[in-house]
């Protein structure tokens, strides 16, 4: 109970206010000092009060509990009940007669073995993928440098407590949630928390109310990638942002998979059928004046006979096969049942970075000489086209600055055969993008740099927002130095007095300024990151060769520069994504973007991949187009929405519900981990089956809660991989679509497989019914039933998993989990009521033939059972007056069992062939499933083997059959095929007609 409450509180957003307080107030509150840190005494007090700074490991479920859970799954319980009933029946028989047949004992044992083996199999599958908390442990740093009473100490991270002053530098993991008090070009990598891969600078100023966005907080377990900083610890252990996520993840319950629900429903159905029939039989047995104990044995016998022994294994194997097939398509399934979940998915909440996009900044546009140029990468990624601009002076200058004003370099050891786009770059994402652009556009950035060796540079800093370098010019002997600068466009513009236009360099004027602002806005609205570039040739008279440039106290001009142009970059969508999104759309799966990124970027990407389709507008778009304020646009007129995390915070549950209901295309931006979870839960409450993709730790609560969590194999953190059910090995969204397709296919094919397997239950159970009701010798024994269920039926049933889909399954809506069940009454009606009955008749046909050919005509079999079964009767007379010993007639009976068994195999040929399709004609579906064709041969070979191998009469009571006894079931096999072909023809001819309503499963 307590745990549930905890999880509920964890779901709320983090409330941190410490960063907004004035530093002095905070220090007073925490009784610390931004210079000397805590006193030892107070640190000890706090340490005792707050406990150690570590993540509490969750209560792990012991392995044996998991094992028991696997062995007693839904299906398992059914088999267990069957087994126990068998043992009870055997005990009753054994206590009443010394010569009781051991059939029930064997049956019970076989059931036990089947359930144990399948249980162990799925336990093995599952145990490979638990231990979520283990991966969180790796995030926790080992040691921390703390200042207490002015002394630097190296403590175990566990000993850090609230109020401690800690010191971090690049390469460290932040040991707790800290408020920065002092920073030197300090940058942290928050990707594990927010999903943003860009390193972010941190400093002492509070820049935002939102703790995740403000600059003066750094969080537990994130990495410091640059610089150094000091900070005051404000949260430790489980109370840290990361700790709360960890707690949330381990506290969340992902619930039952859709396929587990379907299997439970299926078991519910067959249990009802089995008990109904068994009760009817019990009543009949009592009416026929059987001893009540016999009645109980019959009752048990029917229930046990109704258990589909092989189905559990069949379903498990089918799912495993699909999982294997998905793994080949880079979709690794951790939890077998999740294989199907993707197929049922009706909504995908996709992360942006890395999943939809390439997670690789790329130059997309230039603004040069007053025009926006598309930087188009050609198809083989070996060069960039700039549409006729490459001879322009402005363009040449821009590329020169881009090449020079940069600290990025290709990492050594990569030979030129590696495509430029794939090469590793030392330097931040923007510089890498520019470097690659230059390399592709001009052939070699290194050549330009050789020509203009760097003499002096000023690195980027967050207050000035520019980066500058000064280069010598080797081309001319005049010794003309070149100053180049790049940075935030408006800051660069401020420093310029002239601008390059198509008329050459002109003085800054309003027209040029307007053009600049238009371009800047336009590129910004595309969600692109824009950088401005300017340069200035330094006159050689003032700055001769050997001039001592000083970067600390610039002795060169920083203003009156020449503005050259803009370069904008973005993380481009993966090329296959728009197609995949379109496929999802046609498959009725809505794709919702949930990202930690900025709304503008998110929206731009959403538009470019089709999550927001071109014809749809958001409220903001409409307001913009009509030129009216937002408040005047009615929300109903828009079908797309971009929801900011801040807005989301204000929404009530019903409001969020309405948003999800009213807008078909939604982008959630700047969302916190808790909000992701909230979105998933809201969707689930509406009945959707939700897939969530994500790679960061921040995504893991949503991944865990989703019906199917999909983690990224390459960029994904271990935590997200642990929380997910499925891992995309290539991080590619379109792989999900392949997964959806496979999931839908396996659902259809499982239906077929189950229909096939259930059908033979009728011919298996009816001999027992006839045995009791009409007192004829048993036509099929329990050993032969097992031979069918666990022998001949297995391969064909599994082979149906290889059946190709009948129509384009990606053009229909996802199944409605409430209506479109795995097993429904129509499937039962066709399998049990129709095809199964034909099969039973085929079996009895052979049975009566063999009995008649050996002397027992059908009319004389009626009522013969008591004498037939009596060991004392050694001279039972047949229709021709011949007298049969007990052993001889039992041999005859076992021959009938074998023939009945063979008959089932033969009619199951027809059954597996008709189960290939649910709607199409076999003619259209074809016999291209070679596994199935093999299954046909295989089951026949098994049947022949069981019948003709010497010794089988002792081992399994199988008798060799005369060849002609293989033939009588054939007309029935043909009948089954014809009947079902006609049924499907009627379904196709009259969509929605009676035949479809009653028999289409």
């Amino acid at each position: 109970m307590g745990k549930k409450k905890d999880v509920a509180s964890l779901k709320g957003d983090i409330e941190i206010t410490e960063h907004t307080l004035p530093l002095d107030d905070l220090c007073r509150q925490l009784r610390t000092c931004p210079l000397k840190g805590l006193s030892h005494a107070w640190a000890k007090v706090m340490s005792e009060k707050e406990g150690p700074n570590r993540l509490t490991p969750p209560k792990t479920t012991p392995q044996w509990v998991i094992f028991i859970r696997n062995v007693f799954s839904y299906f398992g319980i059914l088999l267990w009940i069957g087994a126990i009933l068998c043992f009870i029946a055997y005990a009753i028989q054994a206590s009443s007669s010394e010569t009781a047949s051991k059939d029930n004992l064997w049956l019970g044992l076989v059931l036990t073995i089947v359930v144990l083996i399948t249980g162990i199999f799925s336990f093995y599958q599952e145990s490979k993928s638990s231990a979520i908390m283990e991966s969180f442990k790796d995030l926790v740093p080992q040691y921390a440098r703390v200042i207490r009473e002015g002394q630097r100490l190296t403590l175990k991270a566990e000993e850090v407590t609230i109020g401690d002053l800690v010191e971090v530098q690049l390469g460290d993991r932040i040991p707790a949630d800290i408020r920065i008090v002092e920073a030197k070009s300090f940058k942290v990598d928050n990707s594990s928390l927010t999903g943003e891969s860009e390193a972010q600078s941190r400093g002492p100023d509070c820049t935002n109310e939102n703790p995740l966005e403000t600059k003066n907080l750094a969080f537990f377990s994130t990495n410091a990638v640059e610089g150094t900083a000091k900070g005051i610890v404000i949260r430790i252990g489980d109370n840290t942002v990361m700790g709360r996520i960890a707690g949330l993840v381990s506290g969340l319950d992902s619930g039952e998979t859709p396929i587990a629900k379907e299997i439970a429903h299926f078991i519910h159905i067959i249990t009802v059928v089995a008990f109904g029939l068994a009760l009817a039989l019990l009543a009949a047995a009592i009416a026929l004046r059987y001893h009540w104990l016999d009645g109980v044995i019959f009752f048990i016998g029917i229930i046990v006979a109704w258990v589909p022994e092989g189905l559990l294994a069949t379903v498990t194997v089918c799912l495993t096969l699909t999982a294997k097939r998905m793994a080949k398509k880079n979709c690794l399934v951790k939890n077998l049942e999740a294989v199907e979940t993707l197929g049922s998915t009706s909504a995908i909440c996709s992360d942006k970075t890395g999943t939809l996009t390439q997670n690789r900044m790329t130059v997309s546009h230039l603004w040069v000489e007053g025009g926006i140029v598309d930087a188009k990468l050609n198809d083989d990624c070996t060069s960039v086209g700039v549409a006729g601009y490459n001879k322009r002076d402005g363009y040449q200058k821009l590329v020169r600055i881009a090449a020079l004003c940069s600290t990025a370099e290709f990492k050594g050891g990569q030979d030129s055969s590696v495509p430029v786009m794939k090469r590793d770059v030392a330097g931040d994402a923007s510089e890498a993008a520019i470097l690659k652009f230059v390399e592709l556009a001009e052939g070699s950035a290194a050549k330009i740099r050789e020509r203009f060796p760097k003499i002096c540079e000023i690195p980027f800093n967050s207050s000035d927002k520019f980066q500058l370098s000064i280069h010598a010019n080797n081309m001319t002997d005049k010794g003309c130095h070149l100053l180049v600068m790049k940075g935030a466009p408006e800051r660069i513009l401020e420093r310029c007095s002239t601008i390059m236009t198509n008329q050459g360099e002109v003085a800054m004027n309003d027209k040029a300024l307007d053009a600049f602002h238009d371009a800047y806005l336009e590129l910004g609205s595309l969600g692109e990151r824009v950088l401005g570039f300017c340069d200035l040739p330094l006159p050689s008279c003032d700055y001769p060769i050997g001039y001592n440039f000083n970067s600390e106290e610039p002795n060169f001009p920083l203003t009156e520069l020449r503005f050259v142009g803009l370069i904008s970059m973005l993380d481009p969508p993966r090329p296959t994504v728009p197609d995949a999104v379109a496929k999802c759309r046609s498959a009725g799966v809505r794709v919702i973007m949930v990202t930690g990124d900025h709304p503008i970027t998110a929206k731009a990407i959403a538009k470019s991949v089709g999550i927001i389709s071109p014809e749809n507008e958001t409220i903001e778009d409409i307001a913009n187009r009509l030129g009216v304020p937002l408040s005047e646009v009615s929300p109903e007129s828009a079908s797309a929405a971009v929801v900011h995390g801040g807005e989301l915070k204000e929404l009530s549950e019903t409001e969020l519900d309405n948003v999800l209901r009213n807008y078909s295309e939604i982008v959630f931006a700047r969302t916190s981990p808790q909000q992701k979870l909230q979105i998933v839960e809201a969707l689930q409450k509406q009945g959707a089956i939700v897939a969530v993709t994500g790679d960061g730790v921040n995504d893991s609560p949503a991944l865990k809660k989703a019906d199917i969590g999909v983690a990224m194999g390459i960029t994904g953190s271990d935590v997200s991989k642990q929380a997910a059910d499925m891992i995309l090995l290539d991080d590619n969204f379109s792989t999900i679509v392949a997964g959806v397709e496979e999931g839908r296919l396996i659902f259809d094919n499982l239906k077929k497989s189950i229909a096939y397997t259930l059908t033979s239950k009728i011919p298996e159970v009816s001999p027992f019914l006839f045995f009791i009701l009409f007192d004829i010798p048993l036509a099929l024994g329990s050993v032969t039933i097992l031979c069918i269920d666990l022998g001949t039926d297995m391969v064909p049933a599994i082979s149906l998993a290889y059946e190709k889909s009948e129509s384009d399954i990606m053009l229909r809506s996802p199944r409605d989990p409430k209506r479109d069940r795995l097993v429904n009454e129509r499937l039962i009606s066709v399998a049990y009521g129709q095809v199964g009955m034909i099969q039973a008749v085929a079996g009895f046909f052979v049975y009566f033939i063999i009995m008649a050919e050996n002397g027992f005509l059908p009319q004389d079999l009626y009522g013969i059972r008591p004498r037939w079964e009596s060991r004392a009767v050694n001279d039972l007379e047949d229709s021709y007056g011949q007298e049969w010993t007990y052993v001889a007639r039992k041999k005859l009976e076992y021959t009938c069992h074998t023939a009945f068994f063979v008959a089932i195999v033969i009619v199951q040929w027809a059954d597996v062939i008709i189960c290939k399709t649910r709607r199409l004609s076999l003619w259209d579906q074809g016999m291209g499933n070679w596994v199935l064709n093999f299954g046909l041969v295989f089951e026949t070979a098994v049947a022949a083997f069981l019948s003709y191998t010497p010794g089988m009469d002792v081992a399994l009571r199988m008798q060799p059959l005369k060849f002609v006894w293989w033939l009588p079931p054939l007309p029935f096999a043909v009948l089954i095929m014809l009947y079902d072909e006609v049924r499907r023809w009627l379904i196709r001819r009259q969509p929605g007609g009676w035949v479809e309503m009653e028999t289409y499963y």
Binding site: S346, R590, S813, G855, S870
Partner: protein, 344 residues
């Protein structure tokens, strides 16, 4: 614009959750167990037609098969049939099959008619039926066969089973049950077309005494034929008068007998069982064979009298049949029958 899927997300109709009662009869929709009256009608009609069609298909197939059957003789015979060529042995009387279906214990108290009549009545009925059967059908197809009269079972005629020479085993003394000296009826299972092979004939079908001895010794070795039966057979053979005109066929018929021997199953049983008499003859004569479903065919039998069985103990009795092509097999109960006797 409304999300096309919003309908789907709308709260599901509650009908599914309103419990079993509503499932049985839903007043609102007028459905019984989820279907309306006409829906039930249609589906029931469909299944009636479907099953009627299926039944007709079965009947048609079975009719075609039936045309291949001959009502006068089984399609598969002897070794082709699973009945085989080694006949079983049966005994009468048998315990009540309803009360103890697998029991073979004959248990009764001497001098208590309510006890022994249950057993003796069975024999009475059996013997009487054989007797009346003779009267009904005898005029046409039954003939009085003896070892020396050359009358044999043919495809049309069969031999009468004599019931008048059973000596002490008759209904007037309740087949000996009243006195604690019960007669047990032993019969050989009928197998269509089966005939016993005689002892003493070589491959060329010529009789020689040496061959007979060889055959019998082989039976003793391989089939555990009791030695006294060997001498019984030899004595019977020697006892024939070689001067009669159909001596050869007489001897052949005698040697075609299916010889029967009853004894205790174990040593103790052998001690308890006492003297055993066979009526009318220690075997079933060869002229009764083959059984070819002749009209009025009577199953031949003998009665085995236990002259002085030990009272108060269960005696396991095993009777075996011997002929050249008959091999007793205790496990398969071929040419062997087993029962227990307990006389109180």
């Amino acid at each position: 614009m409304v999300d096309p899927k919003s309908k789907k997300y709308s709260s599901p109709s509650k009908s599914a959750n309103n419990g079993f009662k509503e499932f049985l009869y839903n007043t609102k929709d007028g459905t019984v167990m989820g279907r309306t009256g006409s829906s039930w009608g249609k589906i029931i009609l469909f299944y009636i037609i479907f099953y009627a069609g299926l039944a007709s298909f079965f009947c048609l197939n079975f009719y075609i098969f039936y045309l291949t059957l001959n009502m006068d003789e089984p399609k598969f015979q002897l070794d082709e049939s699973l009945i085989g060529t080694n006949p079983g042995l049966g005994f009468r009387p048998m315990p009540d099959p309803d009360r103890s279906p697998d029991s073979t214990l004959i248990w009764f108290r001497r001098n208590v008619p309510s006890d022994y009549l249950f057993w003796s009545k069975q024999l009475e009925v059996f013997v009487d039926e054989t007797d009346t059967g003779k009267k009904d059908a005898g005029s046409v197809n039954l003939q009085a066969c003896t070892l020396d009269n050359d009358k044999r079972a043919t495809s049309i005629t069969a031999c009468q089973v004599k019931v008048d020479n059973l000596e002490y085993c008759n209904k007037n003394n309740a087949f000996g049950f009243s006195r604690g000296e019960p007669c047990i009826l032993i019969k050989l299972n009928k197998i269509y077309g089966w005939v016993p092979e005689p002892y003493g004939f070589d491959e060329r079908d010529r009789f020689s005494e040496a061959q007979l001895r060889d055959d019998l010794d082989k039976e003793i070795r391989e089939k555990h034929m009791p030695v006294d039966l060997k001498y019984h057979i030899l004595n019977e053979t020697r006892g024939l008068d070689p001067n009669t005109k159909n001596f050869d066929s007489h001897r052949r018929m005698l040697l075609s007998t299916v010889w029967i021997n009853c004894d205790g199953e174990n040593v103790a049983d052998t001690e308890n069982i006492g003297q055993i008499n066979y009526y009318p003859f220690r075997g079933i004569a060869g002229y009764y064979f083959p059984f070819l479903k002749q009209q009025g065919y009577q199953s031949p039998f003998i009665l085995v009298e236990l002259k002085n069985p030990m009272p108060g103990v269960v005696i396991n009795v095993e009777c075996k049949a011997f002929a050249r092509n008959v091999k007793p097999d205790r496990l398969a109960r071929l040419a062997t029958t087993h029962f227990e006797i307990l006389i109180d």
